[in-house]
Amino acid sequence: MSRGDLIALLYIVAFAMFIGGLHMLRGPRTAVRGNQVAAVGMAIAVIATLIDQRIGDWVLIVLGLVIGTAIGVPSARSVRMTAMPQMVALFNGVGGGAVALISLVEYREALEEGGNPPLDTLIPIIFAAIIGSISFWGSNVAFLKLQESLKGRFPIPRPAAAGLAALILAIAILIAAGTEMEWLFWLLVVAAGALGVLSVLPIGGADMPVVISTLNAFTGLSAAAAGVALDNTALIVAGMLVGASGSILTKQMAEAMNRSIGNVFFSGLGAGGPAVAAETGGTVRSTSAADVAIQLSYARLVVVVPGYGMAVAQAQRAVADLASELERRGVEVLYAIHPVAGRMPGHMNVLLAEADVPYEKLKEMDEINGEFGRTDVAMVIGANDVTNPAARTVADSPIYGMPILDVDKASSIIVLKRSMSSGFAGVDNPLFYDPKTSMLFGDAKASVGEVLAEVNQL
């Protein structure tokens, strides 16, 4: 068996492991193993490539691998659970950046070796450079937005984005036509990066999961294109797997939020930023821990609605303690998990599972919404936009049409909140002014602790 055959064979093993791993990631029971299987597949693919005879200059390879590991491992280890979404955005971005750089190097090398590469190499190189660069810069903006280093919306005039896209297309055609000018390629990468920034800037935070998932699929596609250019099946197969599965995933995420992908990406363009209707006003009733304790203890069904505020306050364990004390007193406690509660789908599940809340008590939106009618107390902990009835009624609200938890159908509502500030989407929440609602202001963890202390005294 030749070395080439061995490499091809190892690649096939890696593909099988990628596909098997993805398949296992679909179910809660097999997901952990699925991720490990895919990781081993990746290790096999890397080793297979390293035994390729064409591989040169081990210094560069080792340097790159060491630097990458030195940065990647600690950042993945140390990131807080609440900051996971940003981390995924960053990891996705560097992947796209790698594709753009590889395309650039490949083009330079072709020029040095005597001119324009053939079109069946050149076109995928151009494609990979554009998409990779968009993904890199778009992901970085998404990261900054999720970190809340960049706040608010930045309405971008539609002609600016369209003009930039046209410019990119023009440069791409010039390069493909065989101008053989390296600076044009640099310009292409820069212009695509600018488009990436402009596309993500106007998008509101609540839509970020969909954005990251889209960029994830983009990076996959760009990797596949780079694979066509480099004649490497591993890149083609793995890149396309991600491109395809990432697209499906994006669609499902968008559906869970009742948004179309076009809506996510283009609603911020052109429109001068939707005016936020702060018409509600009204009075807010504030309550005390003792009152909350009484309400909770004598309820039959309490539904906890966790949100990003619970994550920030690290209140999940306190909440779980309060819930088990209530259960000991015969109160049924369920958790209502909105698909995008927190900053990502599944965010709340991770946190509550950490606090040993049994999986079957976490109810997804469709399951729990029917229950609010018979709920005595809905306890909203640091959630805002996902409970906002304006999504049902106020047509010009930025979150209009997003499915929400029907918290307002419960007999009474307790909202634990730091202050009266609006949610991530920057929209006022009429729920807080509902006569059935009382607010318990303060840090979620401290508040829950006080309530538990009061419950214990009853």
Partner: protein, 98 residues
């Protein structure tokens, strides 16, 4: 490898990708996204393959950055996914109520 073979592989991989993710519970959206995210770190291989016999210093730097980026994508991606999936690991300890 000729272009048509590559396109055939591309199309088949796309179908596998579509099929393998048909319907996923919301809870697993983020880990799955993170897992696929790690897999496109395969671009790392591209970084290994573009190293030529006589690259200039600029190219060397670009290549090292590309390989480092790819490595971060792979290593970080799989580790973060693993941490996210932590909630499914402690499945046997079902009841915290004692």
């Amino acid at each position: 490898m000729d272009l048509l073979t590559e396109l055939a592989i591309l199309v088949l991989a796309a179908f596998v990708g579509f099929e393998v993710i048909s319907k996923v519970p919301n809870t697993l959206h983020t880990p799955l996204m993170s897992g696929t995210n790690a897999i496109h770190g395969i671009v790392l291989l591209g970084g290994l393959l573009v190293i030529g016999p006589a690259d200039g210093i600029l190219e060397d730097i670009l290549i090292v950055i590309a390989i480092a980026f790819g490595t971060i994508n792979v290593v970080g991606g799989f580790l973060v996914t693993d941490r996210m999936l932590g909630m499914f690991k402690s499945k046997p300890t079902e009841k915290p109520d004692e």
